[in-house]
């Protein structure tokens, strides 16, 4: 109880201090907001006709993949690591996997009713083509690899919920295939990052040496594939029922 009072009072103090700093002192410089010089530089040079251009009218994508490309490259690896972490937490040995398969075959397929399924089919087709549009137009209009990939992941989630996971696994969306596709996406990103070194004697990730907008397009497509299948992988593993895990893990604990 005493602790709660302390916490509340300290938060109130912090709030008052911040309010004072913002309203009276104007620490954030919000009152009149000029364009900062670095932002002006990017705006001026992202689609300039002469040098330093990244051939992209979409300045955010230009910054994300071209000016600060290393940042985004390593961000992709952070994403990769977190997904690998989640997978390694839920890992099963080979015998356990076999046991899980045999237990899963006894489970009922909990798909939803006819109306929802038929509507979901239509919506999923829409989401797939919209997400492809977002990803492939990343360097022209708002969008990019991350946005398209997460949109596509939502389509996969809809399929999981409306049909059952087993229906999709029977149709060929198994964990092995998904990991293969994820690896393909990462390989595309890495290939685009390394290509200037071998082809044009450039540096790593110097993608404006590539002809036209190829570099940005490749990176966007690679990111699209990687993000989609990364999410999908996690949800495939999380989709295993809880009682199966309890049966399997019981042996391990005792």
């Amino acid at each position: 109880m005493k602790r709660d009072v302390f916490v509340s009072i300290s938060f109130l103090m912090a709030f008052l201090l911040i309010s004072y700093a913002i309203t009276v002192k104007d620490v954030l410089g919000m009152a009149e907001n000029p364009l900062r010089p670095l932002g002006g530089f990017y705006l001026r040079h992202a689609f300039a006709p002469s040098n330093l251009t990244s051939h992209s009218p979409e300045v955010v994508t230009a910054i994300v993949w071209n000016y600060r490309g290393f940042d985004t490259l390593f961000e992709t690896f952070v994403f990769f690591l977190s997904i690998m972490g989640a997978l390694s937490i839920f890992r099963l040995t080979e015998e356990q996997e076999k046991e899980a398969r045999s237990l899963e075959s006894r489970e009922p397929h909990r798909h939803m009713d006819l109306i929802t399924r038929a509507t979901t089919k239509l919506v999923v087709i829409m989401i797939v083509s919209i997400s492809a549009s977002i990803a492939l137009h990343g360097h022209l209009t708002p969008g990019g690899g991350f946005q398209g990939g997460s949109a596509m992941a939502v389509a996969a989630l809809l399929l999981f919920a409306a049909f059952s996971k087993f229906t999709l696994e029977r149709k060929g969306l198994t964990l092995g295939h998904v990991i293969t596709a994820y690896a393909f996406g990462l390989a595309l990103i890495l290939a685009t990052a390394i290509a200037p070194v071998f082809l044009y004697d450039g540096r790593l990730l110097q993608i404006n040496l590539l002809p036209g907008e190829t570099g940005l397009l490749n990176l966007d497509v690679g990111e699209y594939i990687a993000v989609t299948f990364g999410f999908l992988m996690v949800f495939l593993v999380l989709g295993i029922s809880e009682w199966i895990f309890k049966v399997i893990l019981r042996g391990e604990i005792e």
Partner: protein, 94 residues
């Protein structure tokens, strides 16, 4: 009468009505006794928000900003399906 002025007036009117609808749905989302009420309020709120975005897109004369509205309308559908599946079976996937 000036057609642009009339059009702008209609847009203002629609924006005010939508803001009022947000408040009403917000009340339902706050007070709703069961979780189903809250989810229904969230759903309606999302669709209203999508329409509001389109109105703002017309007002700012920028077609680029309208792409979010389509997406929002699709995502609200998914939220409903997940909630329904959880209530029906207690287990979401499988």
């Amino acid at each position: 009468m000036d057609i642009t002025g009339a059009f702008n007036a209609v847009l203002y009117f629609a924006a005010v009505i939508y803001t009022f609808a947000f408040v009403l749905y917000g009340v339902r989302a706050i007070r709703g006794p069961t979780t189903a009420d809250i989810i229904l309020a969230v759903d309606c709120l999302s669709f209203d928000m999508a329409a509001f975005m389109v109105i703002l897109g017309i007002y700012f004369k920028s077609i680029m900003l309208a792409s979010g509205a389509i997406i929002l309308a699709l995502w609200a559908f998914m939220l409903d399906i997940y909630y329904t599946k959880y209530v029906l079976y207690g287990e979401v996937e499988v």
